[in-house]
Structures are given as C-alpha cells and as structure tokens.
Amino acid sequence: MTEILELKTVALFIELRVFLAVSFLYLTAIIFYLFNLFARDEVTGKIGTSVMACATVLHTFIILFRWWEASRPPFHTLFVSLSWFAWCSSATLLLVMAKKPRVHLAGLPVALLSAWAMFFALLTRDPAPPPLSPPLQSSWFLWHVIIAFMSYAVFVVACSVELLYLYIRNRPYTVKLTRQEVETFHTNAYILVVVGFPLLTFGIVSGAAWANDAWGRFWSWDPKETWSLITWTVFAVYLHAMKIPRWRDTYAPYINILGFVCMIVTFIGINWISKLLGIPSMHVYAV
C-alpha cells in the first residue's frame, strides 16, 4: 500500500513541475505579445506565437501523462478541466495562426486566459485525482466536459480575433494591412463561432443527457445550466446578426464579445455573481 502511495506522489510531483513550467511559458508568451502591442513590430508577435506553440506541445504531454497515470481520461475535476481549457484555447489559436497572418496580437488574450487558467488551477485547486463519485461515472459526463470546454476555447479565440479586428479596423495603416486583410479577421471570428456553436450545443445536450441518467431529470434550471443557455442564445443572436447586412459591421462584433462574457460567467463567474448580488445560491456548483 505504501509503495503505491509513494509512486502516486512521485508521479504527481513530476506532473505538477511540468505544469508549472507550462504556466510560465504562457506567461512568457504574454510578455512577448505585450511588447508586440506597444512596439508594433512583427518579430515579437511571431516569437509570442512560437512560445505558445512550445507551451502547447509540452502541455499535451502533461494531459497524456495524467491520463496514463490515473488510467482514465483526465477531465473530471476543475483542476484538470481548466488545464484542458487552456490547452484547447492555445491549440485553436495555433490552428488560426497556421494561416500565417501578419498580425499575431490575437494571441494576447488567449495567452492571458491560458496562463490564468493554469495558475488558478495550480494555486487554488486540489491537484490530486480523487475517486470518482457515482454521478461522475458516465461517458455522457466525459463527453460533456470535453466538448463544452472545446467550445469555450473556440469562443475565446473567436473573441480575441474579433477584439483584434475592432482594434485594427480603424488603424489598418499603422499595422500595414489592406482593408481586405482587416476584414478577414472579422470573417475568421465568424467562422470560429460557426465551429464553436455546434460544439456548445453538443455540450449542452450531452450535459442534459448526463443529468437525465444521473438524476432522472434532463433539465432543472440550475444557474449554471441557465447561464449556458444564455451563452448559447447570445451566440445564436450573433450568427443571425451576421446575416443582416447593416448589423454585420456594427452590432455583430459586440454581440460576439458579449457571448464571450456570458461564456466566462457560465464557466467561473456564477459563484462570484451570486455573492456579489446576495443571491441565495441553492444549486450553485462549487467552483
């Protein structure tokens, strides 16, 4: 018994040390992107993105290591889901960056959120894999977490690209882009939401399927569920706003950002909001 526990300790320490290193890599990327924001050269932005790429590769190993070590997919606690969220966000960013845009600043919000997720997990959550409580032993739950966090990550990048679009659309010449190049940021943000929306829909439906099997009811208007529905509705509004020519360049970018804000509230903000407004939280999940 003691041997097993000793081995578990060693494995956890290896994992956490790499975890810390990855968190610092995300921080380093932030520094380069900040340079890029103020100096407006292309090189620092590119370095920022390369650092993100290194972090993501190393991060992949931690996720696989935990999977192997705990002999189950690592998505059951907030500690591991935050890490998965950071990984998905950076991986999505790298996919967008694979098109080699000349402006890398969309990496800044992504690096900020990834670093935040990693440090928040490491410093405030219990890192040890606990035994799975009966309700969590469900493949619906597993898919629910995997896909919902993937959709969050896609929305993070969509919002970053949209913010960048709003930032540069009035200053295309300072970043030496043509109007058309600037427009591609707006279109890319839209494509990302078109990808994220079915993922979020799947996240919600699989969550309902899980709740149905675990508690015998697929929907109970719990604040977290309801917020996920708000997020979904706001993104549906965005998708339709993009089809109305007069809204496309006016309201739509802001609705996209609003969708992102709702997503963050769904993800982590519910408890804080409950405390702030003095809402008695009867169902609120522990964050």
């Binding site: 526990l5 320490f13 490491l122 799975l132 032993q137 149905n212 917020w227 339709h240 003095g278």
Partner: protein, 414 residues
C-alpha cells in the same frame, strides 16, 4: 397571407434576434432568483430583490405565462421562417424568381470585358450589402450577372431550422406531458408503480438486493497558500507532502439496486440499476436516487428507531448518528473487504446547528457500549433503496433530434 404584416414579422430574422434576446433576459432573471423557492425561504436565505420575488413571479419565472409566450412566439417564428424558405425554394425551383422583399440587381456585361476581374470587383462591392451572385449568363458577346439578397436557401439550413422548430415543440411536450415520482423499496419488497392519479403501471417492481461499494480515498497534504505551493514545487522540500491514507478515509463508488420487473407474479426483466445506469421498461425509466436508513438502538434499556442525521434526546443531551456504513470496500492495491456495519455517534452542542457537534465514538452492529453515561446497543438496521421514476414519451425523440440538428449545423460548415 404572405403579405400580412404579422406573417412578414414572423418571417424576419430580426424578429428571431429580438425574441432570442427577450428569452435570454428571462434566463438571466432565472439565474438571479432561485427557482421554485417560497418567498419566505428566499427572504431568510438573504434574498434582496423582494419586489420582483413577490409581485413579478420571478421565483418561478420558467412557469410564468410571459416566458411561455415568448418561447411560443420563437417557436412560431422558427416555423414561419422555415416555411417561408421552403416556399421560396419551391418557387425558385419552378423557375419563378421570388419577388418582393428580396432585393435583386442585374448588370449588363458588354462584349469583350475582363469578366473574372469584373466579377471579383462586383462581388466584393456587393457582398458588404448582403448580395450574392445568383445567375451568371455571359458569353463572349456579353450578357448579364444577377445578384440578389435575401434569405439563404441552403437545404441543410432549412433542415436544421425545421429541426430546431421540432425540438422547441418537444420541449413543450416534455414540459406538459411528463410524469415523475419517487418510490422506495426494502430488499425483498415488491411494489406497484403509481402513475397519474389512481392509475397504476401494468407491472410491479421488486428490489432483490441493495448494495453500496466504497473505495480508498488517499489525500495529499499540499500547502494551502499559493506561494508555499510554488515553493514546494521548485524545492526538494515539497515531497514531504505525500499521499496518505487515513484510517476510514473512503468514498462511495456506487449504489447498486438489483431490480426485477414482474408481470402477474413472473419476472420479465432483471437489471442492476446504478446512478447513471437506469432501468427502462414499458415507457418508464427508473433511476437510483439515494437510500433511506432506519436504525434500531437500545438506549438505556429502551428500544428506539432512529434516522441518521436527525437529532434525538439522550440522557441529558441531544445526540445524532451518522449514516450506517456497510458494504464492500475496494482497496487501492486491488484487494477488497466487507465493511462490518457501523455508525458514528455525535453529541450536539447546546443550541447549535447539526454541524456543531462532538464525536463520541463508533458503534458496530451488535455492539453495546457506554456512551455519554448511558448504555447504547446497535441492535438492527434497515435500508431502503430510493428510486425516482419518470414517464416522458418525448424525451427520447428530443435527444435524437437534437443530435441530428447538431450534425446538420456542423454540415453547414462545408
């Protein structure tokens, strides 16, 4: 009818946007106010928005007529939008160009123009205003390019909007046509299953056995402070924080009800139901919801039946027992052992809550001990499995349809 103002509004994407926004406002209210809670309970829990709670029905917003109306309007909106697109598509197919709202622009192309370049420029200029190239009739001697704007007629889009409409209808159906209830059974017991009113299901449910599985729950003593955590990770000292398995540190890994469905005294189906593994039969679904224990104690010669977690009077003070732990413990080294049934006895502090308590000791089945000045014997206990069940004819179709809609929306990407 298609010229009717109401129809035109219901066929508009802007209406969909406004309705979706109104719905999200309702959702928002539903997260600010706890749902299904009484006014007094809300006030006691520290709720601040008494006005909304008392006069606007915000404590039950998802049952409010206004919410249901907004949902219904969206459902209608989706239906009309889908129908409108099908109508337009059908007319387009038969050669008629849909007139009216849909804007249309034709450009005459003189002979000998650089068509690819012209097309590119026109497309770029018109795209911003929502126009798409619809017809290209050009040859070397010139021709026309026709652009139009209006609703998109992609088949997948029509299909998934139709799917969304059906999903919305099914939501209403599960809301109004489902029935749920709770049932508790002791091992060996057979019960009728109640349906609406006096009606009963055409079968009986029997619990053959109810068991609980536990597993070891080792914990790691990691420093709680953030900077200490980082220090522990970058120095050697951290490894002192090792996994430890405290005695009795276990976690429930499963509750299992071995159930049989009986018709006319004969078993027709047998299944082990767990959390996440329900039993479906004849339109009913049975879920493992929890358990209910009753403990028989002899306290100073008097026999008492006690429920775990509920305070009772001892000699001079208020006492309470924990739930009885019994079942099988699976150890991390792969072995397993039976747990002899036991509970913990607590003394509650004067005037304090149930959490304000002092542990007096553990007592296992058959054991007699002097605790807090009186002799206590744990003589017997019974345990019922609590199952919830639900009859909901639409929920299954709703799942399949939702997944179909998701696939269609994804297909829209290509």
């Amino acid at each position: 009818m298609r010229k009717n103002v109401i129809y035109r509004h219901l066929a508009s994407t802007k209406t969909a946007i406004y309705l979706l926004l109104v719905l999200s406002l309702f959702f928002l209210i539903g997260t600010i106010f706890p749902q299904g809670v009484g006014l007094e309970e809300y006030r006691e829990a520290g709720g601040k928005f008494i006005f909304g709670a008392r006069y606007l029905g915000f404590l039950n917003i998802f049952q409010s007529p206004l919410f249901l109306l907004a949902g219904l309007l969206l459902t209608l909106n989706t239906l009309v939008c889908t129908a409108e697109r099908i109508i337009v598509l059908a007319r387009r197919r038969s050669g008629e160009w849909h007139p009216g709202k849909e804007g249309r622009r034709s450009y005459a192309i003189p002979a000998g123009s650089d068509i690819p370049d012209l097309l590119l420029r026109l497309k770029a200029a018109l795209k911003k205003r929502g126009y798409k190239l619809r017809r290209e009739e050009v040859s070397e001697s010139g021709g026309t390019l026709t652009f139009a704007r209006g609703i998109d007629l992609t088949i997948t889009s029509i299909l998934f909007h139709a799917g969304i409409f059906l999903c919305l209808l099914l939501f209403y159906s599960t809301h109004y046509l489902s029935y749920e209830n709770v049932l508790s059974l002791y091992p060996g017991e057979t019960k009728e299953v109640e349906l609406l009113g006096e009606k009963m299901a055409p079968f009986q449910l029997k619990l053959n056995e109810f068991s609980t599985l536990y597993e070891d729950n080792p914990k790691i003593a990691f420093p709680p402070k953030a900077h200490m955590k980082i220090a522990a990770l970058i120095s050697k000292a951290g490894e002192k924080a090792a996994f430890k398995l405290e005695p009795g540190a276990v976690a429930v890994s499963d509750w299992i009800s071995d159930l049989s469905i009986q018709r006319e005294g004969k078993e027709v189906l047998r299944k082990k139901v767990e959390v996440n593994v329900p039993l479906r039969h004849g339109g009913f679904t049975f879920y493992q919801m929890g358990y209910d224990q009753e403990v028989e104690l002899k306290v100073g010669g008097e026999t008492r039946t006690i429920s775990p977690g509920k305070p009772f009077e001892g000699k001079q003070e208020r006492l309470m027992i924990s739930g009885v732990r019994h079942g099988t413990l699976n150890r991390i080294d792969g072995s397993s052992e039976k747990i002899k049934p036991f509970f913990s006895l607590y003394r509650l502090k004067e005037g304090g809550s149930r959490k304000d308590r002092e542990k007096l000791g553990d007592l296992s089945l058959g054991e007699r001990r002097r605790i807090a000045g009186i002799a206590v014997t744990f003589s017997r206990f019974r345990e019922a499995s609590v199952l919830s069940y639900r009859v909901d004819p639409s929920v299954g179709i709703l799942y399949y349809l939702s997944f179909l809609v998701i696939i269609l929306i994804t297909a829209r990407l290509y």
